[in-house]
Amino acid sequence: MIAAATVSGIGRPRLGKALPGAIWAFLLLTPAFVSLASVSFYPIVNGLYLSLTNTSLITQENEFSGFANYVQLWGDAQFWNAWWHTMWFTAASTILETVIGLGMALILCEAFKGRGLVRAAMLVPWAMPTVVTSKMFGWLFDGQNGIINYILLHAGLIDQNINWYGSPDTAMTTIIIADVWKTTPFMALLLLTGLQTVPNSLIEAARMDGAKGWITFWHIRLPLLMPTLLIAGLFRALDAFRVFDLVYVLTGGGPADSTETLSTLSYKVLFSTLQFGYGSAVSTAMFVTEGIIAIVFCLYLVRQIRRAQ
């Protein structure tokens, strides 16, 4: 149908009459497919291939080595260290952002004066480039002159400045806070659209039956919002799993590797030590973990939908 419409739009080319619609459709889709294949499929396949070789720019080696890289990866403490940090970052930031985002969405869903303005203002943190956010949080949590320490000190909550980025106990937490600040509005926006699809008549009917706000939320809004929540959570988890810029700007993976994530590790292995083979194995392991996360989310989503039916 699309093809037919497009053909007539082009201005009746003779060729168009000779070709059936399906072929036209394929022809028109080819550019999109080619560009997708070259920027998306090719790098994945090439990465998979490289991970099975000992390619290194420095040693100039480029031979097939089977699963040697993966065997090495399995015993690599640095990889597992980064893997756990990445999982922890993903879980913590996704859960916090979903909960806080849901709260924000519920507030924004209500009718109040200046709602348009609040909705627009809410998006500012999300629209900001991550590098800018990172620098900002670098200053906020600065150990010497940061305003966070100043506030905590004057509120009597701490008795000496905390060096947020210089201690393994606080560095990752601080990065998670920065990420929550930045990405919660995105979650709120996704959940807000979900909330708005819940028919008002259902909620009104519940209210007529005497249900209080909390009960309508728990028994009507939340179950109906569940698919949206899961999809938003999936989006967020996959994105959080790739965290790079926040870590790169704020700590570079330190101190003592306490904020190393899979992205920063693979960046270092690939582009600093130029071990393309081993680095590809790290990023392939990342790809596989992400795939598993996506499958878990999808299975849960399917179950939810079935139950709803």
Partner: protein
Amino acid sequence: MTDIKKGPVSGSKPVAHVTIADRRQFLIGSAGLLGAATLGMGTGLGVRRARAQSRAEISFASAAFFGKETFGDLIKAFNESQDRVLVKNIELPPPSSSTEVYQGLVQQLARRTGTPDVFSQDVIWIAGFAAAGWALPLDEYFPADKRSAYFSGTLNACTYEGKLTALPWFMDSGMFYYRKDVLEKHGGKVPENWADMATVAAAAQKAGDADFGYLWQGKQAEVLVCDAVEIITSNNGAILAPDGKSSLINQKAAVDAIQFLHDTVNATKISPQDVLSWDEEPSRQPFTSGKAMFMRNWSYVYPIAQDAKASQVVDKVGVAPLPAFPGGKSSACLGGYQLGVNANSKQREAAIELLTWLSSTETQHRIALNFGLAPTRPALFQDEKIKTEQPFMASLETVFTGATARPITPEYAKVTLALQSGISKALVSGNVQAEMDTLAAQIDQIVG
């Protein structure tokens, strides 16, 4: 990934019209100098190109430094100074993005297309580039008598497996900054021993004359390796054995040195805990705002400290060699940039000509005055003009003379990542010996 800005710098436009006569003149004049490559251009298919531009075209890639002029201006001056070679300047990111500069360069060199013909490189890349066969050995062009004009430390760093694969350009090294006024009140003598330094710093801190006694750089980054090289070497220790095939970092000398750094934060408390997340600039700021007594940093700090717009301590800052341990010798980590020629360059003679010009006494003089980057030729430290305009350089000569290179190994990129992680762990946890044992095993595996 890395944006490499290609194209000539404004002003260095190629000569558009060259007459046949000019070309003939040029061919005669330059045949001896430029050799077969250029002659080939003047015959056969090359004729049209030669008519448009009768100069050997080469490219130069470097991290971007700024001062009263840029490296683009420098290349322009070279292009105007003669009529045989035409250089196109490829500007890489500034040296603060050293990793990006490295990646940009490697991606070009690995293609083996001959571009860039000449490049500048950090000392730690030299061995890797040489081992990969990307750097042209320069021994035949710069024999022993020409080399003697340079500092021996930088020459060592430019040598890989007995071959000179880079030419010293300008240098930098770690140095010891102190506050003259605060020191006056606390003994007046610049400490030459780490323990004395800690005592004086603690006393000044206790008396309220400085918020911080000693600032250094403990962030898990390249600079941490530099700080470590200095302190370990000043205790007669080393990171790698002389043959480069095994690690010495878990030996007593190195462990004691790292322990000293750990103690500055946790025992003597002359350094704030923040140094563990600070690289160069965050540690420089408290010093130039007058909060600290001593600091380890690079030479770029001196001009900033003397600039009334950026500094509260104008005329109060002194520079000295870093302290050492008893029985050890002060050690400064070698920094700075060196020049190299692409082994795949199709215009070797022209490349060597540019190299010679860039590293010449005249150009190094110009770089010292206009960029504030120290020469690699000791003779220039006696130059009157440099002494008046960049007075800090003269006081640094002793520091530069003994500068120590970071481990020279083609696997440096892997070694440095292991060092950054291992030393950071030791500084954070305080289990120095245990962390150094683990680190030594890792390094042995990388270089062995």
